[in-house]
Every structure is written in C-alpha cells, then in structure tokens.
Symmetry: C2
Subunit: 199 residues, 2 copies
C-alpha cells in the first residue's frame, strides 16, 4: 500500500516556522532534502543556532505536544519537507524519539562546551559540525565552509565582532584560511584537538 | 488486563547509570517517585547538571537507540523507577517523545542563558527551577531550598568559589537568605525578573 506523502518546499533564507504557540494546523516536519536551521533570536536581533536538521531529521515536534515554540525554523539551502500527519504511526514516533534523543545529547554537549570551554575551542567544534552539512564543499581537494561571521557567531553563541577576532587567531595559527563568506579548513586534525580541549 | 511492572529503588546519592556505551541489558527508565539528576563530570571532577527528572519523566533513552551515554544518573532523593521493556508500546513511545521534546526545549533555554546571561541571572533561573523539585520545602510559610554551593555550581555550569560570590550578592540585595546547605527564597518575584533579564 502506497500512501501519498504531503511535501512542501522552501528556498534558501525562507522562514518555515515562527516562535509562538503552535496552532491546530501546525505539523511536525521531516526533512527530505536540504538543511534547516532552528534558531533563537534575542531582542537585539542576535541569532543563536539551536539545531541543524539534516535529511531524515525532524522539527516542529512542539505541535504534537502543545508546547510553546521558542525558535525560528529557516531553510539554509533549498529544502523539501514532509508534513507528517497529526497522528504518527509507531515507526514514525520511534524515529522522532530517536531524533530527539540525538538532538538532546548534542544540546547537552553544547551546554558542556558553553560552561567550560573558551570561545576559540567552541569555534573549532562549530566549524567541524558545520563541515558535516551542505554548507561545506570540497573545492580543489580542500574542505571549504560557506558561512558568514554572523552565522558563525550564531553557531557558538557570540557576536560578530568577537568571532572576527577568534577567526583571526585561528588563521594566524594555521588552522584555517578565511575569505569573503568562506572558511577553508586547513588543519582538520588540529581543529579536532582544539574542539576537545578546554582552552 | 494487569501487567506486572518491573520496578527498582535507589537511595539518595546512589548512582543509577554511568557514562559509556549502553549494554544489551540496559533499559529506559521512567521515574515513578523521587528526583533523578543527570550530570556530566569533567576530568577535574566538576559536575554539570544536564537534566532533573521528576515523576512521569524518563531517562536512559540512549539504551533504546544505541547512542553513547554522556552522563551519570544519580538519585537525589529516595527514588522508585520503572524499567521499561525493550520494545515500547506506542503510548510509551509517545510519552517518551513528549518528555524528550520538553527536555530539549529546556536544554535550548539553558544554551540561550549560557550564551547571553550573566551568572547572577542564570543563578536566579536555577534557584527557581530547583524550587519546583523535592529539594524545596515550605518551612514556616517560606520556600527553603536544600542545596549546597557545589550543587548550585553544577546547576549553572560554574564552580563553587564563583557561586559563593554570586550567592553573597543575591543575599545582600535581599533576594534570598543563605544558611548551611539551605537557601531561603525571600523575593520570588524579584528572582523571576532577574531570571528573565540579561544582567
């Protein structure tokens, strides 16, 4: 038996969900293609990335449970989503629970980093995480990350000015090379060591 | 139809789960009575509270999905747990997913606080969170929290020395009164305002 799947598409930069109380028509989404970023934005407009959702991952789970949504969901790339039915099948519930357990364990690692690591070490961890997304591409045998200093600030929970300083340090120390909206990851092993130490 | 539930009990301070790879006999637990604390401990022995699990809540979800466990689970009070079967019924899966979604949204709030708030404001938020657990008791019409400065440090992601300084500030400013292993919450409204501002 084949069931029609309800899909929706978004262009890069489009907002998929806004913060607030989920309405009766709100759904849980599964990412089929592309990358979705969940982010909190404070009164001063500073963004903080909470979760990157890749194909197979879910978001909008608060619609299922009547919880308040504290984030914007934004399409980072071209995105195709499946809008799940209001009543999830057991295998969908299980996949959702697994995704949430994984996201929770990543959030706890972020909390540990924020509580104990210096910004430079957290930045190394963030660069490596972004390197696993469609924002990173192999160019002439090198891994190049397409991200602005604003996006990096959102990823580590800081502001652009401070991020620019730390990126400068990482460049001087030979970990990365930096161009306009691009970061070339020169020394992956070094970045991994940095990401694991306290600083 | 009545099914026998498999329950286990722990005394205050007992470790229920250790960090590491879940084994084939590991289970997901539902708290029936008491309070469980999940915490990460770094090489220097500093603890960081990741989640407080109250009756109705779950932990040990990594056993279900073969994920690495990054935390210790410890009984804070006398605790009675239900060890869930390896195959969860749909209503248990749904309750687990709901608990994880709630825990994730709390973890994101923690990340926002850590990225943007001063320690004093985070401490106000932590005191209010602990006030919702069995660690808080009404004593002669006042809300008294039974927690050491080490436990408060673990709750906010700091160390005891710094916490002692911040607690001193909150005492001087009339928000709390502090005794041996006890904090009396004098000004709940003031603490709420502090917890919501950036500092």
């Amino acid at each position: 038996m084949t069931q029609a799947r309800e899909t929706v598409s978004f262009r890069p930069g489009e907002v998929i969900l806004y913060p607030g109380t989920p309405g009766p028509r709100d759904r849980v989404y599964r990412v089929l293609e592309g990358l979705v970023r969940l982010e909190a934005v404070d009164e001063e407009g500073n963004a903080l990335t909470l979760r990157l959702v890749r194909p197979g991952g879910f978001f909008g789970e608060e619609a299922l449970f009547g919880q308040e949504r504290g984030y914007f969901a934004e399409a980072v790339t071209e995105v195709v989503l499946e809008a799940l039915p209001r009543e999830l099948a057991p295998e969908e519930l299980r996949a959702l629970a697994q995704h949430l357990a994984q996201a929770l364990s990543e959030a706890y690692r972020r909390i540990e980093r924020l509580a104990t690591q210096r910004l430079k070490n957290r930045m190394a961890a963030a660069l490596l995480e972004l390197a696993e997304t469609p924002l990173a591409r192999e160019e002439e045998g090198k891994l190049v990350l397409h991200a602005t200093h604003d996006e990096l600030a959102a990823a580590v929970g800081s502001v652009r000015e401070t991020v620019t300083k730390v990126i400068g340090e990482l460049v001087r120390e030979g970990y990365i090379r930096s161009g306009y909206g691009k970061i070339l990851l020169k020394n992956l092993e070094g970045l991994k060591a940095l990401a694991q130490s306290r600083g």
